[in-house]
Amino acid sequence: MAIDAGTIEKLIKAGLPDAQITIAALVDDDNHWSAHVVSAAFKGKSRVQQHQMVYRALGSRMGNELHALALQTSAPGE
């Protein structure tokens, strides 16, 4: 099972509406992606908490349909 970039972006946006998301393919297989997510909701949160917020938005897909998502997160201006 695979997942496309548009779906990943939509899911993250549903959980973090203000997010600026840049998605790139790590491998051209719809299974390995990298995402850079910038959101004001990350302000004052640890990196682990920031990633947990993105994982929460992706729900059960993470680790299943979506095998690998290299994640980078930051608050605006950081």
Partner: protein, 113 residues
């Protein structure tokens, strides 16, 4: 909570208490079975940190249990002195900017050089 979940959580708690640096990974430190696990092994080896690897592929109860325990959906997961540091992306980022070495220093874990 089912008995299996409780058992897994208890075993994880015991393991992260007993081992100052513990890596939940796919495969073993010598033969990692996944590129992301291999990357974290490589970072710890580069820093000269002594760690124990837990192969989640060999233990389905821990494989699911550690995801619930850390509220983290992916493997690898690095614990230092009982505290969850992060997965491959965070550990890599912290290694590159020097933060990881500082974490080990702050927690009294010896590194090389």
């Amino acid at each position: 909570m089912s008995t299996a979940t409780t058992n897994a959580a208890d075993r994880i708690k015991q393991d992260i208490t007993d081992n100052p640096v513990l890596l939940f990974m796919k495969g073993t430190p010598v033969f990692p079975q996944c590129g992301f696990s291999a990357r974290v092994v490589q970072i710890l080896t580069t820093l000269g940190v002594k760690f124990k690897g837990v192969d989640v592929l060999a233990d389905p109860e821990i494989r699911q249990g550690i995801k619930d325990f850390s509220n983290w959906p992916t493997i690898p997961q690095l614990y230092v002195k009982g505290e969850f540091v992060g997965g491959c992306d965070i550990v890599s980022e912290m290694f590159e900017n020097g933060e990881l070495k500082q974490v080990f220093a702050d927690k009294g874990v010896p590194t090389k050089g």
